[in-house]
């Protein structure tokens, strides 16, 4: 686990309000795995901002982060330019469990939840199918990156790009036709809940990446609670930063 400033190599704004950064941080990249996240300091703000690892280039030592401006902290971060330094704490949390690349996988990303799935798609390559959902054509991100890694279906709520509708019908079709051993998903809670319910009806493992407001990011302050249910039915609060952000779908209790 590392905490220091690293240099920004490049900054892009693929669609308005979404930023795509590459940061040179070889030590961090060496330790990191897909589905983990980093915790970024935003100027003098008291809390860091958690952002998922989108891509890891072990050759160049570059970390890629893709995030949307939601509030003041991400706005401040988006003002950083190539050459500036970003104060990063990471890699943090438990990432996705990647099966033998021979296995078949489906990744389902919703909106700004797509970035953490890119490295998963790359891991499985052609044996992966990506289903990416967005509100509308103008919100579509990373579709090219996914398409060059694996089979990719884009869904939009308004049908302005790809298939009209949510990711659920496309996922159901994939569960029936493509028969993956595992499904990985990240996105808004209602989407994750739908995927959890759908996958429960199929003989498929499912891992969800969750979000929760964070303090320390390392498991010490217990603020990032997420309700889970153990096999014996007992409920508990696990912590997204340490026990997650990736959880087995059947252990998550959506409230």
């Amino acid at each position: 686990m590392i905490c220091r400033e690293f240099e920004i190599v490049s900054r892009q704004e693929p669609i308005p309000g979404v930023f795509d950064y590459k940061i040179h941080c070889p030590e961090l990249v060496a330790e990191a795995s897909p589905g983990q996240f980093v915790h970024i300091r935003c100027g003098e703000r008291s809390l860091r901002r958690p952002i998922s690892i989108c891509a890891l280039d072990r050759g160049t030592g570059e970390l890629r982060l893709v995030f949307e401006v939601r509030g003041e902290g991400t706005r401040e971060l988006s003002h950083l330019a190539a050459g500036d330094r970003m104060d990063i704490l990471g890699p943090l949390g438990h990432g996705f469990e990647l099966l033998d690349p021979g296995a078949r996988a489906v990744v389902v990303g919703g909106g700004i939840g797509t970035p953490p799935l890119l490295e998963v798609a790359r891991h499985y390559g052609e044996r992966c199918q990506a289903i990416l959902g967005f509100r509308s054509v103008k919100n579509v991100i990373l579709d090219q990156d996914f398409a060059s890694a694996c089979g990719t279906v884009v869904c939009t709520d308004d049908g302005s790009w790809g298939v009209r509708g949510t990711v659920l019908p496309a996922l159901e079709a994939a569960l029936q036709g493509f028969c993956p051993q595992i499904v990985y998903a990240c996105g808004p809670k209602p989407m994750l809940k739908g995927i959890q319910e759908l996958c429960a009806r199929y003989p498929v493992r499912c891992q969800l990446s969750l979000e929760e407001r964070m303090g320390c990011g390392v498991g010490a302050c217990l603020v990032c609670a997420c309700k889970t249910r153990a096999e014996d039915g007992q409920e508990n609060y696990a912590h997204v930063c340490k026990d997650g952000p990736v959880f087995e779908a059947q252990s998550v209790v959506f409230e």
Partner: protein
């Protein structure tokens, strides 16, 4: 090299910097960053007799120069602590402070008894948690409540007892005196100030618990004031906290009268904060030709 060691209620700390309860778990999380034996002490996550789940999320909100939390004392219970965490912590060379909480006076006594034979060095009676429905701060806001629980716990406690006070009171001094007269061996303050934030788009409190405890630099001036008032009114040592983020803040708190300090929220933006504070104090003292950190305690000279 200035001498940084201090003595709190008969226990010697190698330096006056303690990580604050609830902000450092049971210590494991920060060992990747530095050797936690460098700390003067660790105030452990608030413990209850039985396991507690805590409050539903969201449990944290950002505020100007601070944050609100509403964790609500999530913890595995004292027995799990003794079994799973204490053995690990005892491999570290630092003072261990068990922060204990309860819903009833009996709860407090039970935990104190369970810890009596353990190797924790100090108890910190948390009568100031604003995030639980029963007990907690209820004891900390009246002299009678505070005195009552201290009196009872003193009968069961083997370790020296710090009492952690709530700042959400009209008269912190009389509460401090009340717990001192019941045998408290030290006083730690401040716990968090009760606050609230609202998400104006959703028209909902940011915290599921509606309100939460404010900490971080925003509260520092309130903490300094209360430490100064209390240190001037009691004879037992005071452990000062609330918004300390730098060595200078720690020195200010000690000049106000604190014999040691705790660091909480500052660790969330900088995990290395406690170590930087220890090092910064050392170099400030050396730079000022001060041989022993104890020489600065309570040295602020009021104007009038």
């Amino acid at each position: 090299m200035a001498n940084l060691s201090v003595n709190i209620a008969g226990v010697t700390l190698k330096n006056p910097v303690i990580t604050a309860s609830g902000c450092f778990g049971f210590g494991r999380e920060y060992e990747d960053f530095y050797d936690i034996s460098r700390l003067g002490g660790i105030s452990l996550k608030g413990m209850t007799a039985k396991k507690r789940l805590g409050n539903p999320p969201p449990r944290i909100a950002e505020t100007p120069a601070g944050m609100l939390n509403s964790v609500g004392l999530q913890n595995p219970g004292v027995d799990a602590f003794l079994r799973d965490d204490l053995p690990y912590l005892k491999t570290k060379d630092t003072v261990l402070i068990a922060n204990i909480a309860g819903s009833t006076v009996e709860d407090y006594c039970e935990i104190a008894s369970r810890l009596a034979d353990s190797e924790v060095d100090l108890l910190e009676l948390n009568i100031s948690c604003p995030n639980v429905k029963e007990g907690g701060v209820a004891f900390g806001v009246s002299c009678e409540g505070a005195a009552g629980v201290v009196r009872a716990v003193k009968r069961h406690a083997r370790q020296p007892l710090l009492v952690k006070l709530s700042p959400n009171v009209t008269d912190i001094v009389s509460i401090a005196k009340a717990v001192e007269s019941e045998g408290a061996n030290g006083i730690s303050l401040i716990n968090t100030l009760l606050g609230m934030r609202i998400d104006i788009e959703r028209r909902r409190p940011v915290l599921y618990n509606n309100v939460g405890g404010l900490s971080g630099p925003a509260v520092f001036p309130v903490a300094v004031r209360m430490v100064w008032q209390v240190a001037n009114a009691v004879k037992v040592p005071v452990v000062g906290m609330g918004g300390i983020a730098s060595a200078k803040d720690a020195i200010e708190m000690m000049m106000a009268g604190a014999s040691a300090v705790q660091v909480g929220a500052a660790m969330f933006s900088d995990p290395m904060a406690p170590v930087k504070i220890i090092e910064g104090m050392e170099s400030w003292l050396s730079g000022h030709g001060i041989a022993d950190v104890g020489e600065i305690v309570g040295t602020v000279r009021p104007w009038s």
